[in-house]
């Protein structure tokens, strides 16, 4: 099972193309509010994570996720199911 740090590293890697200004990413970073990733791009990012961890992250779950940390927790939980 992937641990939180590993998932965080993967999220940061996949966030790179959506973060051209290279803003610092922490677990507390708001994906839309701080990193200014647009709402459609968030869903594109999620598809990459779904493929990497072989999980399904439904859109209604994504809508509730606000921070990078919440995204990592959701993936960890789904990967463990």
């Amino acid at each position: 099972m992937p641990d939180h740090d590993e998932i965080f590293a993967k999220v940061c890697e996949l966030l790179k193309p959506y973060n051209p200004e290279n803003r610092p990413i922490t677990m507390q970073s708001g994906i839309v509010s701080d990193l200014e990733v647009d709402s459609v791009a968030v869903f594109d990012l999620v598809m990459g994570l779904e493929d990497h961890y072989d999980v399904s992250i439904p859109m209604e779950m994504v809508s509730d996720i606000k921070t990078v940390g919440e995204l990592c927790s959701a993936i960890k939980q789904l990967a463990e199911e």
């Binding site: 791009a41 493929d51 399904s56 859109m59």
Partner: protein
């Protein structure tokens, strides 16, 4: 703190653009619409090349007479829902005509295209079902999935392989799989491989729902759309469409090969709890269905495809980065939102209206100058459009200089 604080970002974005071009690009007001391809703002005549009026039937004499006659016969509005007092002979006749056109047993008409997807998607699925939606799906499809209680999973645009992978990931399900794609995608103008999507969807025991809003009327031997053009219409479970493009009115429809679809009339909230489309809107659409499924419809389709080929070649020869093969929707990718807005404004000020399309309304966060052609455009109109885009290239240095000045 106030109610408006949350709009700070969008307000800032709008203010920046307005500073550059001195107008709200999402609030263009036409002083007159003189016909299918011409409008007027102030004293300037504008070529309309972004109206989705694909067959140019908005000023068709028979469609206009049908609309006027319906007002004379049945008034300006129905003032009621389809399940109350809002079902007239016009609605029933149009549903029958569309069902016949698609050779399907069931058709339901809605008050707008947006409501069609909202109603059908939310009405056909519930919390036990799983929706799979193309990543480039239109906002009304997304909103339909939000109104549904079903879980929604996005798959990579136009990729049946990716859909297959995501459907295979679901090991247990209580309900059904419901797959949603579009025919012609409205922003890039690219088309779906429907036969492959049918194979994947049905392999997993799912239902395929296609939004043919932009393809109905312009694709297929009789104008039914892309599924007809690809020879697979009889295998598709649901096809949705709109009246506000080729059908030259406002409203929407969904046809199905499943006669059981009729029961959805009793559960679709955006169908139940809104007034039915006006007799005039419905009558204009009914007249337009007759035009689409006729020799005249074939002539219109021939013309729009000739114009699409002409425009695509013209813009490609100028070096524009086009998003797809020739189709009635031709979009040029621009470097960013600000440059795109300046170019869009220059075109408008020089007599050409196209659509400014920016994120998040576009795939891949693209900024686009989007053109939608009409069968009413002439060869000369398209030459003029190409000419404007050529001039736009010439004035590029000047536009950039202005931008730099404004940026300080």
């Amino acid at each position: 703190m106030s109610l408006w604080d949350k709009y700070g970002t969008i307000q800032g974005r709008l203010d920046n653009v307005k500073k550059l071009i001195n107008r709200d690009p999402l609030g263009v007001e036409f002083d007159d619409i003189m016909g299918r391809t011409r409008g007027r703002i102030g004293n300037r005549e504008i070529i309309l090349a972004g109206t989705n009026n694909y067959l140019g039937l908005t000023f068709d004499e028979d469609c206009m007479i049908a609309a006027k006659d319906a007002i004379d016969a049945h008034g300006t509005g129905t003032t009621g829902s389809r399940v109350a007092n809002g079902t007239y002979t016009e609605h029933v006749e149009l549903e029958r005509a569309l069902a016949d056109h698609f050779k399907m047993p069931s058709c339901i008409v809605f008050s707008t295209g947006y409501q069609t997807n909202l109603a059908a998607i939310s009405g056909l699925t519930n919390k036990d079902d799983i929706i799979f939606m193309d990543a480039d799906a239109h906002a009304c499809i997304i909103d339909g999935t939000r109104l549904s209680e079903a879980s929604t999973i996005r798959f990579r645009h136009n990729s049946p392989e990716d859909l297959d992978k995501r459907m295979s990931r679901i090991k247990e399900k209580k309900g059904e799989f419901f797959v949603i794609i579009e025919g012609l995608y409205s922003m890039f103008g690219d088309i779906a491989p429907i036969d492959e999507f049918l194979d994947v969807t049905h392999k997993h025991g799912g239902y395929l729902y296609i939004d043919e809003a932009h393809s109905y009327g312009v694709f297929g031997e009789t104008g039914c759309g892309l599924a007809e053009a690809q020879g697979v219409m009889d295998r598709v479970d649901f096809i949705a469409g709109t009246f506000s493009k080729s059908l030259a009115s406002i409203g929407g429809f969904c046809v199905s090969k499943h006669p059981e679809f009729e029961i959805a009339r009793k559960v679709m909230r955006p169908y139940l709890f809104t007034a039915s489309p006006t007799p005039s809107n419905v009558s204009a659409a009914l007249a337009a269905v007759g035009k689409i499924n006729s020799d005249y419809g074939n002539e219109l389709r021939q013309n729009i495809w000739d114009r699409a080929t002409q425009l695509h070649k013209g813009l490609a020869d100028l070096g524009y980065d086009l998003c797809a093969e020739p189709s009635p929707v031709i979009a040029a990718r621009r470097p960013n939102e600000v440059i795109c807005a300046m170019e869009w404004n220059w075109l408008l000020e020089n007599g050409l209206y196209v659509n400014l399309a920016v994120p998040p309304g576009t795939p891949q966060s693209s900024s686009l100058l989007r053109i939608s052609l009409s069968a009413a455009h002439t060869e000369d109109d398209v030459n003029q459009i190409i000419g404007k885009f050529a001039e736009l290239k010439d004035v590029q240095p000047q536009l950039m200089e202005n931008l730099m000045k404004l940026a300080g």
